[in-house]
Symmetry: C5
Subunit: 99 residues, 5 copies
């Protein structure tokens, strides 16, 4: 999985029928120190993440093991909203300090 | 998924039998600000996107969860025609301004 | 999928039993203008493409949806021999001009 | 698979229900000489690896063939804790020298 | 698939139970001219390749279609030991000249 930050949304009315009701978020990947990378993805969000929240993104066919996405053509999904990231016993991110 | 712009078509008569009737589009990936990237893909299109339209592309085995593609060897598909893209509450793209 | 040009062959006698009879082609990926990229792949060929022909390559688990490859450990396959490639209403490639 | 070193943890309370009880590790990929690469991944850990241990990471849909992960949306998992790495008959890593 | 050269081994005692008896090889990818690339992978080997042999590597979920790997979390596998590689009717590699 990858760590990412929610940056925006994509809206589409004309789409695969199975995608009705699926929310699409624009997410930007972060490195292990929390620095933004020049890498973006559009991910299906069934967890309910908000802009600026840190999330875990799962990609490829595994993305469909998110609730209600089994038969949907999504190749990236938000699987968790991150509380904390620790690297070498140092806190890189703590959600409480960002709310 | 990735944001892309439709740029052209690929036509093939001599192909896997299961691909009869599948339309192939040449798409160019865009970054989150709508700038063209030097990355192209050929995607199966069951949604009916036109040249210059912004679309969402799903890749890998998930591409086959598009209608009628279950048993087809496609690894990239158009899953939606994009209406709007918003990043940090700023409109990056609105289809109505491009029609 | 990706556009590629057939460049050569790989032969192997000592291999997974399920691969008996599968032909392996060395293909070089092309960009949307038909320029050769420094990216190669070895693809299973059930379509019968020849050296210098332009082909469509499908990669990942989708490659096995090519005829007779369901249970074979191939992660790249030729799915079509290309007739034409058009980008922004300009012909990039036409097979008849290359035969 | 890829060789990696465990560098930290990610904790999330608000996540896909199927992910309850799954431990997430931040791992950094290493090259064949054991040098750290600027590539990070978050992997599910069902093996019980500790910080600084060298591990084998499997990615993509194969990651779910780890115990208890069949229906979980994980796209990267720790599949083994490495004892030794040898390249060209030279020892690159031996766990006993690092405990 | 990718062409690679066997460079070494990884040994692990503490691993996913399903991986008992699986041999892990360190392989280095080669370009179409046989030049070594700075890209390494650890692949499961059910074919019995030796150090310095040229092999074909299949990656992603297709790797599990190698014998006895159906339910194993391997995302890369040796599927063939290469006899010859020809590019543009020129011999790039012939196993007999290397034994």
């Amino acid at each position: 999985m990858r760590i990412a930050k929610v940056r925006g949304t994509v809206v589409s009315t004309y789409k695969e029928p199975s995608l009705q009701g699926v929310k699409f978020l624009v997410v930007q990947f972060l490195d292990e120190a929390g620095q933004a990378l020049q890498e973006y993805e559009v991910a299906a969000d069934m967890v309910g993440a908000g802009v600026d929240e840190w999330v875990l993104i799962s990609r490829g066919s595994q993305a469909r093991h998110v609730r209600d996405c089994q038969e949907r053509p999504v190749d990236a999904a938000v699987i968790a909203i991150i509380d904390t990231v620790n690297v070498e016993n140092r806190s890189v991110y703590d959600k409480r300090e960002h709310s």
